[in-house]
């Protein structure tokens, strides 16, 4: 059974709401005919690695330009802040000497430096020192496949943000309807209503952008979704915390599970500056800026 992108994205929204892991790797690699390895796996779309084929043709005697005898690779470099990178098989997608490739990295054979994001989710940095990848493990990719993986990763992250944003709405509504001050629930104060409405709106905005991007998966759609998701984080977290009062600012409240993730996820898989720059360039390259949005 094939799971559609929209279904996986909906599952990721739910995962973001529950502050749990979702089918991230499956979503990012859903367009590729890849069987995920046994056990936990994660994805790293990398640049800056140094890749070389392990068995290049001996060009001194053969014709110049003959390529290697097999696809075995030697890889060196850094995979920064890989989600669960120290404890999962890392599926690396990157440019190689003969075009883009995908290959697994076993963190036990790399130097792993554990780290976390602001929410405490593992973000481990792996150092690869002449890491050997067997030929059978190297999957060549087309440039389009690599590009689509990048879009899918950004969309998946935006979906997690949409879910965490919805959690902020839920928790804030629960707090403002139950917390009583001056003899009334907070939600009865006009000033609170005004802020709460903006929180609801901003969250709905992110979800609409994510759902639309999941239907078509175009570069513009994904760029708009991740740019807006990341850009909305500041306002969503600000209002949720403001309306929670002091308790939200401490570990006594579960609000932090959503907001610390939001503050981290907005930077991951391309922050808003990255994606808005792409959108802006596309708009100036197009004949008609409107046609860019309404294809």
């Amino acid at each position: 059974m094939t799971t559609t992108l929209a279904t996986r994205v909906a599952a990721l929204c739910e995962a973001g709401r529950l502050a749990g892991p979702g089918p991230f790797a499956e979503t990012v690699l859903g367009h590729l005919d890849v069987v995920l390895p046994e056990g936990p796996s994660t994805v790293a779309i990398a640049d800056g690695l140094s890749l070389a084929y392990a068995h290049p043709a001996v060009t001194r005697v053969g014709p110049i330009g003959t390529s290697g005898q097999d696809a075995a690779l030697r890889v060196s470099g850094t995979l920064p802040r890989v989600p669960y990178g120290a404890t999962s098989t890392v599926l690396v997608l990157t440019e190689g000497p003969r075009g883009p490739v995908l290959f697994p990295v076993d963190p036990a054979r790399a130097t792993a430096v554990p780290g976390t994001n602001l929410a405490g989710e593992p973000r481990d940095t792996l150092q690869l020192h002449d890491y050997a990848v067997a030929a059978d493990d190297v999957r060549p990719l087309t440039p389009a496949e690599l590009a689509e993986a990048g879009l899918r990763a950004a969309l998946a992250r935006a979906a997690l943000i949409a879910g965490a944003a919805e959690r902020c709405v839920e928790l804030t509504a629960r707090h403002t309807t139950t917390r009583v001050q001056f003899g009334r629930p907070l939600s009865h104060f006009q000033a609170v209503k005004q802020e709460e409405a903006r929180l609801i709106e901003e969250s709905a905005l992110v979800r609409a952008a994510v759902d639309a991007a999941a239907r078509e998966l175009s570069p513009v759609g994904v760029a708009a979704a991740k740019a807006q998701a990341s850009a909305s984080v500041a306002e969503i977290a600000r209002i949720a915390h403001q309306l929670h009062g002091a308790i939200g600012f401490t570990q006594l409240s579960e609000l932090r599970f959503a907001t610390t993730r939001l503050w981290s996820w907005r930077d991951e898989d391309g922050d808003e500056s990255h994606w808005t720059a792409l959108l802006g360039r596309a708009a100036l390259a197009a004949d008609d800026v409107w046609a860019l949005l309404a294809v």
Binding site: T177, S187, D211, A231, A283, W290
Partner: protein
Amino acid sequence: MTETNDTRKLRGEVRDFLAEERARGTVLGRPDSWLTGWDPDFSRRLAGRGWVGMALPPRYGGGGRGFAARVVVIEELLAAGAPVSAHWVADRQAGPSILAHGTEEQRQRFLPAIAAGRCFFSIGMSEQEAGSDLANVRTRAERVPGGWRLTGTKKWTGGAHVNDYAIVLARTGEHEDRHQGLSQFIVDLRAPGVRTEPIHLLTGEHTFNWFHLDGVEVPDDMLLGQEGDGWKQVTGELAFERSGPERYLSTFPLLVSLTRELRRGAATPDQQARLGALLARISAIRQLSLGVADALDAGRPADVRAALVKDLGTRLEGDLVHEVRRILPRTADTGATPGSYPHHLAYALLHSPGYTLRGGTNEILRGIITRGLERQS
């Protein structure tokens, strides 16, 4: 909304039509063209293509195409800054309202004329003491033999000085509950006793009016819907009025103007990114608005989501003006060449206070949004 082959084809046809109109000099790319772009000939040519009254059934001269198709056309017209204000209210509000509440005779009389771009409407709801608090209308309709006599003054009535009819909300009975005893009437704007006085916008443009009804006689058959159902009829239309593309695209033509200027030179990375941020937000709001159109097409209630679109969209319309000015600083100038960037900037700016007021003040709408959430939880 998902684009289908049908909507893509329609979009392409509207773009071709707009290219012809640009060549004719009728589409100037002005911001807020649905409020002040009054061009009855343009409206009639649009109607000739079947793009006025598109959602009305074919038996009344409409296109029978549903709201989603209408949204495609409206989006294209607004993004281009086309002059659509003559038929705007007839197409968006009066047509659907007469279809929903009107008698068979009213439908046959008005709907084909609306769809042909030959009959233009105004809305007579707001008054001096009935703004956000619409149930406070004071205009009275008294029974007279064969009909009603209407007395009162409406305010902010767009186009009353040039349109053909107005749908007027008036009090027909006194009740403890102010929402009862209100009725809607179709009033001929050329009838004796109708008098309009201009109220000028900050730009000096004349679109709003005081609309005086000095004992205007309205025949029985021009009561719209049931006597006493006015409130229900009026509030039932609000989701359509609040969620459409005119709630986030009013200033889009200014963005078009900006990109045209930026393409002349080398845009800096900061200009590109700021432009991209505006596009991301417009794109997201558009998706939210299209979701409401789908809900309305499917007959699902959408009043809360419509309020949400309106608050987000109209705040964006205003923010866009200020952000565009920061991206490419120029002095806004109503005296600049019409169609130039400084000219568009001036009109978008001078119209900007209206974006978050018309169609229901945003502060009031936010109350609807939070009440909707409380109903859910």
